[in-house]
Symmetry: C2
Subunit: 330 residues, 2 copies
């Protein structure tokens, strides 16, 4: 049976939502979870659940964990930490994937150093799913792993994103674009112009795309450096949050009819929230590593952890690591 | 009396919204407009307006204009174009500001070459106003004039944005931040880390800011290179558009009560639209030039042109060019 390691430690909201997400996912799908962390804190949270689920949970004790304010470079020396032990369970081939909402820098460096990069890949990239007006999300990579990039990194991100969109999201012939300051071929900065020249003959490459294209379904995979990817993600979250805040404050200062109407529209707002809620998209896969690694938002709630686990299961089913390996072997 | 040149030509929606915006602004404020473009097309649009306004409109004929698909580098040789003639009216000190919704690259190169950069400024920057949850907007610069930047450009953008926020938006002690992939001092890419070191002792500099901070009122001036600025603007527009589309489609497939409730909420949605509508913010000033230059959106409607003209008037009243000159003379 498939086994997924879940790092129970280091998330902003503590262990509870992580364990709750694990339990929810076990009720829906048949697989084994290896929960790594402080067993004295984990075990009490598992006491009340039925034995059907409990028997599919292994608890692996870890004495410590990497705190959010620690430097990622410490992680490699901290072999008693939950993420170190979790990653090494994958290294020993005793599990197929890992999900962590802890220190993302630590997860990235340990995954790269202990699990290794796929041969031929210059840098692993964080791949984030974005809502679109279509039925399938779009992918942005790199969403933050590599701040300063060379053009060959972007070329690797393009191929990895293509494979992920095809094998995990099930998109036939995914379209890959370079994020730039205009759609025209001559647009871009020095970095993206170089990458454009390297990508232009790939059948999946559709050219430059703009910020708005991330959401309109015209492109499936959006390639950029990790500095811009991070800014784009946080800007998008910021706009959505601001719109919700302005709407709420306008409704608050309105009359009772408006308030009633807003109440009736609750379902519609709920559908919007569902469509744009990061939790529904799970975590962000770290692509280019030999095993499936899912980096969850530090502030993940139980639903986000649950969805990240489904995402890990899909990545295993689609053998995305194998497919990326094949693609880079060519 | 103050005179503002308005380029009547080259906008995506033709002359009508430009002329309509001009007329609206003349009804509200007392100043003179010099409309530059094809007089055979402009004059019929002015026929029906009352003589009170008409006497404050000068029409300057131009034989041609720079089309959106032309190269900006052509602009300098096309001395019969509306933007060339318009810019030269400022050069001859016969007007105080120019507003154009035509080819923005042409406006930028002609403004730089014919009006000149303020002494000591490395590069002019486009400065765009963004909605926030506070009562004052925030500023992003550079929003697209300079694709690849050096750190000293970013330092100049910071000071220009500070002066604009203070003198035109009336913000006391504007806070200036560097757009980066995290708030911590050690975050950033090579470019922003260099700029951080150069800015860190400035009293107005608050350090690194993230994408979400653009809208939450925690910073007034957001500094980035023009490649990222363009992506941030288009991403923000894209998110807002997508949210509106999802809401509309959810309401469309709902029952009559939901539709009625949505109708009752029209005013609230209208208030939101007003708060996030680019038209209300006018155009984007090109800072670092010796005169006031406002670049309007190619798709500007009459309201956007009207607001861009008010913005030009405020920039003249605040003597923002003089203030920037003083700041860089130090």
């Amino acid at each position: 049976m498939k086994t997924i390691v879940v790092d129970a430690m280091g998330a902003d909201l503590g262990l509870e939502p992580v364990v709750e997400g694990v339990i929810r996912s076990l009720k829906i799908k048949d697989f084994i979870i290896n929960l790594v962390g402080d067993s004295a804190q984990i075990n009490p949270l598992l006491e009340k659940i039925s034995s059907d689920y409990k028997k599919r949970i292994i608890v692996t004790h870890a004495d410590s964990f990497i705190k959010m304010d620690e430097s990622a470079s410490n992680a490699i020396r901290r072999c008693d930490s939950s993420i170190y032990i979790g990653i090494d369970i994958l290294r020993d081939n005793k599990a197929d994937a890992i999900v962590s909402a802890g220190h993302s820098g630590a997860t990235m460096s340990l995954a790269t150093l202990r699990l290794g990069r796929v041969d031929g890949i210059s840098r692993p990239a964080i791949c984030t799913l974005m809502p679109t007006t279509k039925s399938t999300p779009s992918l942005i990579l790199d969403a933050g792993a590599n701040t300063d990039c060379k053009s060959e990194y972007l070329v690797d991100f393009a191929l990895m994103g293509y494979e992920y969109a095809k094998e995990v999201l099930g998109i036939t012939n995914p379209k890959v674009g370079l994020l730039a300051n205009g759609e025209e071929d001559n647009k871009g900065n020095e970095l993206t112009k170089e990458a454009f020249a390297l990508l232009k003959n790939e059948s999946y490459f559709i050219g430059n795309v703009e910020g708005g294209d991330i959401f309109n379904g015209s492109v499936d995979v959006i390639v950029c450096d990790g500095f811009i990817g991070n800014i784009v993600l946080k800007t998008s979250e910021g706009v959505a949050k601001t719109i919700a805040l302005i709407l709420k404050s306008e409704i608050k200062k309105s009359n009772i009819f408006i308030k009633l109407a807003a109440f009736i529209l609750k379902g519609v707002f709920g559908a919007l929230k569902l469509k744009t809620d990061y939790a529904e998209y799970g975590g962000a896969p770290l692509l280019g590593i030999n095993k499936v690694v899912i980096i969850s938002h530090g502030k993940s709630n139980a639903r986000a952890i649950e969805c990240a686990i489904y995402q890990a299961l899909k990545a295993i089913d689609g053998d995305v690591c194998g497919k990326i390996k094949e693609a880079f072997a060519k």
